[in-house]
Symmetry: C2
Subunit: 320 residues, 2 copies
């Protein structure tokens, strides 16, 4: 898919670096290097106001998720899992100057919230990718950990996405550029997907599978829910749609994976999507889990990613 983008001089320089074994972040924008200052507006960071290489140069893992509270909880959890000093109580929101996103750093792990939906995560990704570029990060792995609706699988199952598909079950993301529509690839990193799946097998009672993830622009009508403010289709049409999705290989539905896969793929980030399912959409539309069950389910992707990161860093496994 890289062919749809003209290589900028910067990204070509970066590619050369790849021969030294380092995989840099590809910013594919020929205008960026000519800018005197780059203000990452929605992160409240900038190249003149912050020393980005000093702040972020050692980042190797970026974990993103919709909810700010959950991403803070993940940062605290990772702090413990990495065996870092202190209880992590002093972990501060690096983006405290804005309430658009939250960002926490613990060792080489960055944890960022992205809000809900393709446009919201897309703004964050543009600015995050520029941040990693300005900070001269290399060999970065990025993982989205989220919640989703399952199709034909038990609630609480963890789905590792092989390919994100759109509402029409197509493995693509349609990006509007000016008034043109460009189609981008939404495959995720095969090797990373397999590594995560292997990790999941080492956790007891941890139902995990690899499948397609459908990404929609809407939680209600777009996902065939019968409980929105607007509903123009029948229960039969809903079930027919979800069953067709299942047949096409879709195992869960969320709202960010296509643009995440497309942008990370284009920018040379090894990327994965790991979502827990909160319900089986063939059975129901509403999420009515008890608070404790919901909390336990939401922790599952975090557990898996923590295990994976510890393994990558050569830390002894606490869980096995």
């Amino acid at each position: 898919m890289a062919s749809i983008l003209p290589a900028s001089s910067r990204s070509m320089r970066r590619d050369k670096n790849a021969y030294n074994g380092k995989r840099f972040v590809h910013v594919k924008n020929p205008y960026l290097d000519a800018m005197e200052e780059d203000i990452l507006y929605h992160l409240d960071l900038g190249t003149k106001t912050h020393n980005l290489p000093a702040m972020f140069g050692d980042v190797k893992f970026v974990c993103v998720g919709g909810s700010a509270k959950r991403m803070k909880a993940f940062a605290l959890f990772m702090h413990k899992e990495l065996g870092l000093e202190g209880g992590g109580e002093d972990i501060e929101d690096i983006c405290a100057g804005t309430d658009r996103y939250c960002m926490f750093k613990t060792g080489p792990v960055l944890s960022i919230s992205h809000g809900m939906g393709i446009p919201s995560i897309s703004i964050m990704l543009h600015e995050l990718i520029k941040l990693l570029h300005h900070a001269r990060c290399c060999d970065v792995t990025i993982i989205r950990i989220g919640t989703s609706g399952g199709i034909g699988i038990a609630p609480g199952s963890v789905v590792i996405t092989d390919t994100a598909v759109d509402s029409f079950f197509k493995p693509q993301f349609e990006q509007v550029i000016l008034d043109n529509v460009v189609t981008r690839n939404t495959e995720l990193d095969k090797e990373l997907t397999e590594e995560l799946f292997t990790c999941s097998k080492e956790i007891p009672n941890f139902p995990t599978l690899i499948g397609h993830t459908m990404c929609t622009y809407d939680f209600y009508e777009g996902q065939g829910r019968l409980d929105g403010a607007l509903c123009t289709f029948s229960r039969e049409k809903k079930l027919d749609y979800l069953k067709r999705a299942y047949k096409a290989g879709v195992r869960n539905i969320e709202m960010e994976s296509t643009v995440f896969a497309a942008m990370c793929g284009l920018c040379g980030l090894k990327a994965a999507v790991v979502c827990v399912t909160l319900l089986d959409r063939l059975d129901s539309d509403q999420i009515n889990l008890s608070h404790d069950v919901l909390v336990e389910y939401q922790q599952r992707p975090q557990l898996l990613i923590a295990k994976f990161i510890r393994k990558q860093l050569g830390l002894r496994d606490q869980m096995s």
Copy 2:
């Protein structure tokens, strides 16, 4: 546009009430009344856990905006403007159990954050509209107050939207329902737009205009910015696009207005969009206003809406 939706029995009952002079909220979903409980998951509210008529029955104005901090500031400001007792310090986030959205109530005014982008505001609107329906609210006016990029107008100008248009300058919102695409109307309430414009003229040094607002799915490539992580077009192509938008009547660009206009229109809510512009996109892409100027600009839509609400409630004007 209502014709694309089959009238539910509930909405027909509501329509009858309209003859008594009350305009109820139309929930257009025939399945909703059969539900024993309705959990408004992303608001952390529900029909069994909360007495929605008691909590919200008196709501007449709903103001929505992207940022939680800004919507809290607006609630505190309205508290003062309405001459309510106390300083408003005790105004609590009604959705404190979730971090997806924030909601504050002060007198008949509800202030809610919606995050960034069409999908994010759409989830909130589905649940808000159901909330207003369950609470049996009537004669509700809803106004989105936000920030935007201007085209060919001075930064700090306030744009009242007459019609929201998509990236192709079309006055429509394409809603994916299952795997069908349905086109919805994005015109806003003419009378409300005019009333707001009249109000604006009563505020000294308050540059305001009525125009089309373009709503995109993306802040960078979709709005023709040259400063994203990805950029595949030239400065000339960008300017050509923005100038064509201007010719088509577009005066500002943001990321929520089409779905807001479409959903509110279908559900019988009198709706307006009032956004301040933070820059002129013909001149630049980055927002580099000083903190103080940014804060002052962001207050402009709030000032206008406060004046409008005070007028509607028959309160003496403090500002004139």
